[in-house]
């Protein structure tokens, strides 16, 4: 039997380590390192000095960890480069799919009068504020121009069910076109459910349509946010949710919340409300800057400071619920965790670089105007048409998608070339939001040191990493969310 050789025989041939691209941030006395594709590692301050300034030894536990995460290599090794390239390629793969989410604003009319809503109109004149079949046909043309294998058509408003005939028309035409196009076609109606009836349910059942609705929390909170004649928005929403679940299927309805200042002290009640409604997924949304910003020309950072404890308390409560066997996913965390722990793209257009405006999701307004995003449409309603890309009745698809109105914000907000973002260790998890930054600071890039978007996201990344590192069962939960 030959002799066995000791570990020293298998160490790297030299201590001449080549650094591979990585970024760092100091967090609570430790240093977070992230590689080109968002894999992370925590090291001590002392270990970090070795990494950044050298010399690293030929072998050590630190060296092995850095090598495994493709932050260092021996120059003679092609494998780490190849693996990084493969992972990067997977991360960017979705870009070439192009626009997958097509939002059709079926009607601006709405019988609610929510104070923060900028878009809806109180009117019974259908011709003024409803999308016409002609406009819808042009929008479908545009949607099917996208090379994406998956096309999701989402009906929004106002209240899209007020123009239900148009929805029926669009679904029928889309399916008919799809017989040749062969896309993976899906439909969502974003509705407050007040107008849900058997006809709508029958239709959704026949065509596999999903429902997205709003549920801000307990009745008093929700109804205060969403006044309507009868003051029963919450009752209609929750009844509607149950009706859809029973008629169409348990997973056919999802709910989103709008967070207002009144929500900030009540996160557990809001989550409990979702649990009581049998929902297993929620999205702890940030405060929207848009209405406030347009009125005052600034978005106070203190709003982020007040929102962060809301999020932290909510996340911890959701983790606790999961440990008791109550399934509940926090969607924003799940999106970020997917970027942290996989090479997959969650396809969430509001947290990605390049930004998802236009190239991930696009909005066809009732009048044929095309907007880069729903927030861009909202700004237009308030007088700022920066993100209006054109009109279906006047401009070609090429003119719309290649307009400066779209290309400029995409280009200028790209995080890999943005000040501070380009150095930021969290950049692989983050995204560009040119609409937010335009609305709050006047340019597409914003100034990240004072950006509420940056502050909020950085705090969330640190929070998620902290919880992940702290506890094996949270790790398992986060891995489950990342894998969805």
């Amino acid at each position: 039997m030959s002799k066995f050789r000791e570990p020293v025989a298998f160490e790297a041939p030299t201590a001449d380590w080549q650094l591979l691209p990585f970024r760092f941030e100091r967090i609570n006395g430790r240093v977070l390192l992230t590689n080109m594709v968002g894999e992370h590692l925590f090291v001590s301050g002392k270990d970090f000095e070795q990494v950044a300034e050298g010399p690293l030894p030929v072998d050590s536990s630190l060296v092995r960890r850095l090598r495994a995460k493709h932050m260092i290599r021996q120059e003679s090794e092609p494998l780490p480069i190849e693996l990084l390239a493969l992972k990067a390629r997977t991360r960017y793969r979705r870009l070439s799919e192009f626009t997958g989410l097509h939002i059709f604003v079926a009607s601006l009319r709405c019988e609610h009068s929510c104070p923060y809503c900028q878009v809806s109109r109180q009117s019974s004149d259908k011709t003024l504020y409803d999308m016409s079949p002609e406009t819808a046909a042009l929008a479908l043309d545009a949607a099917f121009r996208s090379p994406s294998a998956n096309i999701k058509i989402e009906f929004q408003g106002g209240e899209p069910l007020l123009n239900f005939e148009l929805i029926e028309d669009v679904v029928a035409r889309a399916k008919s076109r799809n017989e040749e196009a062969g896309k993976n076609l899906s439909f969502v109606i974003a509705t407050n459910l007040a107008l849900l009836d058997e006809r709508v349910l029958d239709f959704c059942d026949a065509h596999g349509i999903y429902i997205s609705t709003s549920l801000d929390g307990p009745a008093d909170l929700h109804n205060k946010n969403r006044p309507r004649p009868g003051r029963n928005s919450w009752e209609l929403a929750t009844e509607g949710i149950q009706r859809v679940r029973e008629r169409l299927g348990i997973d056919r309805v999802s709910a989103l919340m709008t967070t207002t200042r009144s929500s900030l002290d009540r996160v557990k009640e809001i989550i409990d409300c979702y649990v009581e409604q049998g929902l297993s997924s929620m999205f702890l949304r940030p405060l929207s800057p848009y209405g406030f910003a347009i009125k005052t020309k600034s978005f106070a950072a203190y709003d982020v400071d007040r929102w962060l404890p809301f999020y932290e308390e909510g996340l911890d409560y959701i983790i606790e619920l999961n440990s008791k066997g109550v399934p509940m996913v926090e969607q924003y965390a799940a999106i970020i965790l997917k970027k942290m722990f996989t090479n997959d793209d969650p396809g969430y257009v509001d947290l990605t670089s390049p930004s998802g405006i236009g190239i991930g999701a696009i909005v066809y307004n009732y009048d044929g105007d095309v907007y880069a995003s729903d927030e861009g449409r909202m700004l237009a309603e308030m007088g700022d048409t920066t993100f209006r890309l054109g009109n279906l009745h006047e401009d070609t698809y090429e003119e719309i998608l290649l307009s400066e109105a779209l290309l400029q914000p995409l280009d200028q907000s790209f995080t890999a070339s943005a000040p501070m973002c380009s150095d930021c260790a969290f950049e692989p998890y983050c995204g560009a939001d040119p609409v937010y930054h335009h609305a709050t600071s006047g340019d597409y890039l914003g100034r990240k040191p004072t950006s509420g978007f940056c502050k909020r996201n950085m705090a969330i990344f640190k929070l998620l990493l902290d919880r992940y590192e702290g506890d094996p069962s949270t790790r398992a939960l986060f891995r489950t969310w990342a894998g969805h």
């Binding site: 050789r5 025989a9 298998f10 790297a12 090598r67 494998l79 996989t342 398992a476």
Partner: protein, 397 residues
């Protein structure tokens, strides 16, 4: 422990045997087929004629009139019809190549290897053993059509290069429905022409099982005792992945690999997530492993946390994960759904403690070699707790 290799008690041959590989026929499997067939005498009744070779079980009187007759040793009395043997031309050395009743036949192609793993259960030899490959070709030609699983091992089978590819093509031709599994360190696939040759066999039922023992070269290369192994192995896996070939990764768990098992799982999930399955394997205390017990031995219950974490990481990345060769009492209940009762039936034994264990039938037991080293925490699982946890359906960690 079933003997697979032995010597005949007596051989009476008119001349040296004309072939080495023989398929056994007994009364239950008797047909008119005589080609490459040897008759197995299991009783004292008259023997059918026309066979080129007769084998008699130990304890029977040997018929005088048979020209070519070999008497089996007692330890080979278990043989029966449709088993396949390789016999030396003097009738003395006998290797059992295939047991028809077993689901776990593995065909040894060579004992040569370019690795020298610290825990190798088949210690490498250097001499030319090409006849093993020749025997394998003959075996594949003789196997019944309904053979379900055909496993090839070594040493390192890819050392044969195109010879291995030819064998695999023969398998595909003659046994297209069989699941073919080849164990290999994968390094030869780092040459893309070889990966392409492999892919050109075009057998969707073929899979290669490749060991991975670390996330970077220093640990993996040390465990397999070969510089450059990690990089070539992973490169090979990438090449096979490009060609859409089926891959199983195997991690043997011991003191060197268990502490970094979650990192290995992370590495797999992030870099080579396209593999078809991952097998986490308990250590078999034979071969070179015995010489390295101090370096390798760790009680499985001491790596319970790492095991759970690794399984979680792989499972959530939708990579099919299986735990082999671990006694159920030593690993957390939450990972029992991932266990496979897998110790080859020619190797397994049980501990006295197991006799009162309520999950004995679901547990793989031990390798016979465990007598050299076994956990002192083996404990029968009482019946009440196992009834609540009928967990051997797929469940979450």
């Amino acid at each position: 422990m079933i003997a697979l290799s032995s010597k005949s008690q007596r051989a009476r041959l008119a001349e040296p045997l004309p072939r080495s590989v023989w398929r056994l026929v007994d009364r239950g499997t008797l047909t008119s087929q005589r080609n490459a067939r040897a008759f197995l005498i299991t009783d004292e009744a008259a023997t059918p004629d026309g066979f080129d070779l007769y084998l008699a079980r130990d304890g029977l009187r040997l018929p005088r009139e048979l020209a070519n007759l070999i008497q089996l040793p007692a330890e080979l009395n278990y043989l029966s019809g449709d088993d396949v043997l390789s016999i030396g031309d003097d009738g003395r050395r006998i290797r059992v190549l295939w047991r028809h009743t077993s689901r776990q036949n593995s065909i040894l192609l060579t004992e040569r290897c370019n690795h020298y793993c610290l825990m190798c259960s088949q210690p490498p030899k250097t001499g030319n053993d090409d006849p093993l490959l020749d025997d394998a070709f003959e075996l594949i030609r003789l196997l019944p059509r309904d053979s379900e699983e055909i496993g090839f091992t070594g040493g390192e089978p890819t050392l044969y290069g195109e010879g291995l590819i030819d064998l695999l093509r023969l398998c595909r031709s003659l046994h297209p429905e069989a699941a073919v599994h080849v164990l290999s360190n994968g390094r030869r696939f780092s040459h893309s022409e070889f990966a392409e040759s492999w892919a050109a066999v075009d057998n969707p039922n073929m899979m290669v099982g490749i060991p991975l023992y670390g996330t970077e070269p220093a640990l993996h290369d040390y465990v397999v005792q070969a510089e450059g192994a990690f990089n070539e192995t992973v490169q090979g896996i990438l090449n096979l992945g490009r060609m859409r070939q089926r891959i199983e990764l195997r991690v043997v768990l011991h003191k060197l690999t268990a502490p970094v098992l979650p990192e290995i799982a992370e590495f797999i999930a992030r870099n080579i997530p396209f593999v078809d399955q991952v097998a986490l394997m308990g250590l078999e205390m034979i071969g070179l492993a015995r010489a390295n017990i101090p370096k390798l031995w760790i009680d499985p219950s001491d790596y319970a946390n790492e095991l759970v974490e690794a399984v979680t990481i792989l499972d959530r990345s939708r990579i099919h994960t299986m735990i082999y060769n671990h006694q159920l009492c030593l690993i957390p209940r939450s990972v029992w759904p991932y266990t496979v009762r897998s110790i080859s039936d020619w190797k397994n034994e049980y501990h006295p403690e197991c006799m009162t264990c309520s999950v004995k039938d679901d547990c793989g037991g031990f390798f016979f070699s465990a007598k050299y080293k076994v956990s002192d925490r083996i404990k029968a699982i009482p019946a009440e707790t196992s009834a609540e946890s009928n967990l051997l359906s797929l469940a979450q960690v």
